[in-house]
Amino acid sequence: MDRTLMVYFLKRLDWWLLAALLVLVVLGVLFVYSASYRGEGIPVNTDYRKQIVWAILGIGVFLIVALIDYHWLGRCSWLLYGCALLLLLLVLVIGETRSGATRWISLPWFDIQPSEIAKLGTLLALARFLSLSSTDSRRLYVVALAGVIAAVPFFLIFIEPDLGTAAVLIPLTACLLFVAGVPLRILCCLGVLGLLALPLGYQVLDDYQQHRIDVFLNIDSDPLVYGWTKQQSLIAVGSGGLTGKGYLAGTQNVLGFLPRSVADNDFIYSVIAEETGFVGAALVLALYAAILLCAFRAALVSRDKLGRLLSVGVATIIFSHVFVNIAMTIGMMPITGLPLPLVSYGGSFMVVTMCGLGIVQSVYVRRAQR
């Protein structure tokens, strides 16, 4: 890339998106550290260092993807989608099973979670399919084909099982179909059909899967684990008050009432809310709102449908995670293992989110001239 192109790129970059993203990543590292803090003089585990590495890697991925023309990504979408499906199949064969779920492929220096990659793969495939000039989104078969594209990874992730991640594919598909212009009456019918199909699908499942869904739907069915965590998370959030207890001073986490296995990933928002109070918790939510606004702005100024759908898709994935995670933290929703984008400890999802935001940036940089 020559110098003028670089200047052009930098001039058109969405600095707001970059800023919000950087602040969230920094907050993430700080609170992963805080979540593993046990008190003065007690060694902190090294998760936060890994998180720094993942954050730097993620920012790198973000910048590289931003430079790539998303049309090229569109053209590769079937390949990427296919690779994601292959990885999902692979994880079922060689994946590592932890607490009953086979979600990870162990590599020598880190683990990857193919279901995270599959989210992007599915997004790319759907966006590409729905934006093809030959696709008329008012046709029912188009909707059916889109459904098949989403259903395959959904099924593969579902049987891992990783219901939370699989479930994210549902709003993703729905929002893409909505923005792609599928008539509202078809979408409504699909919604109703989906609701009716739920009990049917439930019957098909094995007992242990049914149990998981029971737990998913109703925390009381496993009160010892989920009820406890929910209660402790609520106490942490509630006792944070308006301005919080101060960094590293959240007692719920330090004393171990908030289970340590989840404090730095699924329940990191609980740590943030306890230590920074309502002010900090609202600020984090505002940063996500800023990211959503940036993504939708990219969608609105996009020069074509592919860019619009990609941006809306990324926004939907981020929104789904943020909403479900925070609602779970404050006891509004059952506990599912959905991490908080950019903040929760974890590498695959960090890189995938950065990649998605890179696509949004790529769309924004190549926006229509007005």
Binding site: G181, I235, V237, T251, V254, L255, F278, L293, A327
Partner: protein, 608 residues
Amino acid sequence: MIGSRREKVASDVVRARALLALMLLAFGVLIVSLYNIQVASTSKYEIALDRQSMRWIRMPGMRGQILDRNGKIFADNRPSYNVAIFLEELRLVKAKVSETFEKLRPVVGYPATAGEKEVNDHVLNLKPLPLMAWRDLDEAALARFAEQCSMFSGVDIQVEAVREYPQGALASHVIGYVGRTNMLHDAQRPFHFYTDEMIGKSGIERRFDDVLRGQAGGRLMRVDVEGFHREDIVVELPKPGSDVQLAIDVTIQQAVEEELQDAVGSAVIVDPRNGDILAMASSPSFDPNIIVPFITTESWNVILQNPDHPLLNRAIQGSYTPGSIVKPIVALAGLENGKLDPGHVVHCPGYFMLGSHKFGCWLTYGHGDMNLANAIQSSCNVYFFTAGLAMGEEYIVHMAHAVGLGRQAGIEIGGERAGLVPDAAWKRERLDESWWDGDTCNLSIGQGPITVTPLQMALVTAAIANGGTLYRPRLVQGIRAPGGQTFSEQPATVANRLDWSDASLGIVRQAMLNTVMSARGTGRNAAVPGVAIAGKTGTAEFGPKALGKKRGWMIAFAPFDEPRYAVAMVLDHAATGGGADVGPRLQRIFGKLFQVTVSEAPPEAGHG
């Protein structure tokens, strides 16, 4: 076509905007919920947080001292060095506790004092507190442990205050002892944990527990999810207790206890000028140091199974038939009511016939002609039978009540027996029999159902000595607040003022003086050269007549003109009687009180 395409794009834009609006609305819902939880109901969650992670621990205050009237220490605190295991540092579960015990065992050199049950209870219920594995290390073990203690993490020496009684068994019935408790519930503040605390179980320790114990402090600590101690939030230091000063004089108490060492009995010395208890002894006694801080079941059984009941404080809990020591009271009853002419002479042939019933005098061949003074000095029963019948039992009962017999004297340590002064009403109610002259005869010489305590008799003696003031016993002389210099004086209180005329009291006192000082007096064995001592002996029969069991009594006061000591002493099993068995003991006690060396002359046989 182009138009429709534009329309399409426009519809995409509208839909995207609608979607964004929906997402932001959802975020708005989250913000409102967060506000409700974090700002509107903070206190609810703060309370829940504190409830699960805050613990109040009660910390006992240091017990005050118990001192004698000259500041000699009866009860004190000494440091006890304990091996404490801090569970939060070791993160120990029960199995690992015993492992640590095994490792420490060779260092200390003897098995842990904490039993298996105590350890289990502690790990279950008292996790944030250190576990005292070995209490009260001896010096050698302490030295060994101090050398090697750096090898063990989470194990340290902790110092605890333990009650100690430097005077040993001296006045143990008065001082009492303490016992461990861990359940002192505080109505004002519900504590989560109670550390071992000492409360008084008997004597002064028990009755003055509130004064001695001080004010407990508290420690507010944070515990983690497993219940281990994390940090202290607030430490409220306990306030030490007040010191209690007794009227007892260690030197006098020692003198008295020495005279009771080989016998079962009791003695009380009262200051006739104010009712101060200078000595109160009961034999056999016990050493409270073997009860505190803990006593083995065997040692406890040894005490409980002793037929002479060492825990019994005979000075206030022994009901004794008084025998002839009531004669001065009978005499005063007659004189004060004009029913007894001190010059009137009664002939004693050695017995007294009441109808067909024969009441004997102790001198079987008879005292001959007796006036009141002689009758007291020689303790003639026949004279008192006659005098008693002449005045009637009501005057005797009235006077006995007036000098405090038949009711508790009101000593601070409580637990007193009232004794008994029988009268017609009592006999009718108790035995459904009417009073007859034989009862009056018995009452006149202190036999029959009448019982008294040594304390009561010491107070009566003091009243005769001081001219008719019956004091309430004063055992506690003062109380000193922690850190204070002076004791707040407890005022002497008068129980009753007896308006005895100088004439009547003079006759009785003179007769009592003669009892000790005259060569023919029954109390002559108690005489000390150079000291005017007045007294009265008594020998009371008890139990089946055939066994011939006798209590030996003597009451005395000295010096005669300005009395400073009033004594009552009783022996449960007297070989001969008050004069022979108690007299010499009192002589030695008076010898020490007045610093007169008394030559050890064999006691003369005689009756009281």
